[in-house]
């Protein structure tokens, strides 16, 4: 697809044709990539943007005065603008901090904002369906300043159980939940949660690692205060993430990692940190990756996030129906049975077959699924599971991927009898 050209209607086959890795075989079968919740496959436009950067524009950013150094800086800062537009940041690019990924973004939130603003006894309320990235930094902060980490339970329909939320909200300074569960596919009611937090004078943080790639994200409309996500889950490269917060909050946050690039001045008696996002970007950043992220955002913008969401919704409805029909209970999907407010993540529990064995058998069919606890051990414990085999869709996924998944699952079921 040429730059700037818009698709008139969503065409997943075209997305697949744009994705080079989709052309390869695995174990003599065409690749059936069902692990986008782990990492997505970049389209050619993303790979080319990074190659072009290294072939033509590579230099360190914010340092040199020569032409290519300026070009590199423009590419880097241009990505900040692209991100701000993509998530509708009200304060624009000055609110966008580049990190190494969602995990670092949450560490920045906990160790900068959290350490400066939370005191002993203050409560951070997360949920049982959080990824470890939105749990462990809070436990680490608890060790330093004695905050309390509290969990919103997940109900038997795999949704947040908000029946006791008034009691849970007592003493809460920050509510921090995922936009979409990486295990269950559950899409959380972010607008409702934001209102809930703000009514009680708390701030609201969102783990956008999954939702950023599968749903439209509008931080202003949702009225959220912090957003974290990774480029590689949204068709971009690994090693690059985003931390977003409103300008006035960012202005009061102390620096996180120290070093070059994040300072205004360094003397023998101390240092003065830089202002704006730069204050949080110590060391040489991932520059080529920002070129890739800009290309990914352009590409997703061309597809339209509403169209991506609608396409994956169709795939999810189809897969839920067919898995139930084909295996009538022998393959259980750990997540909402109703596709409403549910993304394309299918955590499978195959009766009598361990998830690692499921993934091994599926690999022989070229099917990529992720076995394990998906960095969400509290959630797995909640449902008495050690692991699941997780299949997840992306914009390039087709119902034919579900065909192969079902064929391979059939082999797993029959092999283990």
């Amino acid at each position: 697809m040429a730059r700037g050209e818009r698709m008139t209607s969503f065409n997943a086959r075209a997305v697949r044709a744009d994705t080079p890795m989709m052309k390869r075989d695995v174990n003599g079968r065409p690749l059936t990539y069902l692990d986008s919740a782990s990492s997505s496959l970049p389209p050619r436009a993303v790979i080319e943007a990074m190659s072009r950067y290294y072939e033509l524009h590579h230099a360190n950013v914010h340092r040199g005065v020569y032409t290519t150094a300026n070009e590199a800086t423009e590419i880097f800062e241009g990505a900040r603008v692209a991100v701000a537009d993509f998530i509708h940041a009200p304060g624009g690019a000055d609110e966008v901090v580049f990190t190494h990924g969602t995990t670092e973004s949450f560490n920045l939130l906990a160790k900068s904002w959290g350490a400066a603003n939370l005191r002993e006894g203050d409560v951070v309320l997360v949920s049982e369906m959080e990824h470890h990235a939105n749990i462990v930094p809070w436990f680490q902060l608890r060790e330093i300043n004695g905050i309390e980490v509290r969990f919103i339970p997940v109900d038997d329909d795999y949704r947040l159980d908000l029946t006791d939320i008034d009691r849970l909200m007592e003493g809460v300074r920050l509510l921090s939940v995922t936009g979409m569960s990486n295990v269950l596919g559950t899409i959380n009611p972010l607008g409702e949660l934001a209102a809930l937090a703000h009514r009680r004078g708390a701030l609201f943080a969102v783990d956008g690692a999954q939702s950023i790639a599968h749903l439209p994200t509008d931080v202003a409309a949702l009225d959220i205060d912090f957003l974290a996500f990774s480029a590689h889950k949204m068709l971009g490269p690994t090693g690059l993430g985003v931390f977003w917060t409103r300008r006035e909050i960012l202005a009061d946050m102390p620096p996180f990692l120290g070093g070059g690039g994040m300072i205004l001045d360094v003397r023998t008696d101390g240092y003065t940190p830089a202002g704006g996002p730069t204050r949080f970007e110590a060391g040489t950043p991932a520059i080529a990756e920002t070129a890739g992220l800009s290309a990914a955002i352009r590409y997703l913008g061309g597809l339209g996030m509403d169209n991506v969401a609608a396409h994956e919704h169709e795939l999810t409805i189809d897969a839920l129906e067919r898995l139930e029909k084909e295996f009538s209970g022998r393959v259980r999907v750990i997540g909402p049975a109703d596709a409403t407010s549910r993304g394309g993540v299918l955590s499978l529990d195959v009766e009598g077959v361990h998830p690692h064995d499921v993934a091994q058998i599926l690999d022989q069919y070229g099917v990529c699924v992720r076995p394990g606890h998906h960095c969400a051990k509290p959630l797995m414990r909640r449902f008495g599971l050690a692991a699941t085999a997780r299949a997840s869709f992306g914009p390039y996924s087709l119902t034919s991927d579900t065909d192969v998944l079902i064929e391979a699952l059939g082999e797993a079921v029959s092999l283990f009898g």
Binding site: H354, H356, D357, G372, F416
Partner: protein
């Protein structure tokens, strides 16, 4: 799917479905050692009784994939009733079987045939080596056994 047949031999599936020597033993007198594969979540608790240099009883609890469960079941059968010298030999032979890099590969990338004599049912695990990410599943029980043997020996002295 011949590759899968190499991995999921009938003996392995049998030991997975019907694991031998499951359960717990009083500790003491049994030595109790835990084993983990943090990446895949396999967990194993091994109970070992060594009396006068002989493994008189062994039991295990825990959970994991078919390879890890079958390997621990096969291991328990292989060492129960054996003296510690024999146990050392079996552990060495198993380790050798799981180590591809020390064996030469032929032109088809196949490992040179390993001497599987006297390995008994444990030989069924030989196919695991073709699936490198699964080797740690097979070795968990054996690493835990090595720890338990060392602990039992330390207690005996």
């Amino acid at each position: 799917m011949s590759n899968l047949d190499d991995l999921y031999r009938e003996i392995i599936l049998d030991h997975y479905r019907t694991p031998r020597n499951r359960g717990a033993l009083d500790s003491p007198p049994a030595v109790r050692v835990e084993g983990f594969n943090p990446l895949c979540g396999d967990e194993l608790v091994l109970y070992l009784v060594v009396d006068n240099g002989v493994v008189t009883d062994i039991k295990m609890t825990g959970h994991g994939c078919s390879i890890s469960q079958a390997s621990s079941s096969l291991m328990s059968v292989a060492v129960k009733g054996k003296n510690l010298d024999e146990v050392e030999t079996v552990m060495e032979r198993f380790k050798e079987m799981m180590t591809l890099k020390e064996r030469s590969l032929d032109e088809n990338g196949e490992a040179a045939p390993l001497d599987l004599r006297n390995l008994g049912e444990i030989a069924a695990l030989a196919g695991v080596v073709k699936f490198p990410v699964r080797i740690k599943c097979a070795t968990l029980a054996w690493k835990t056994l090595a720890e338990a043997v060392a602990e039992a020996e330390a207690e005996a002295t």
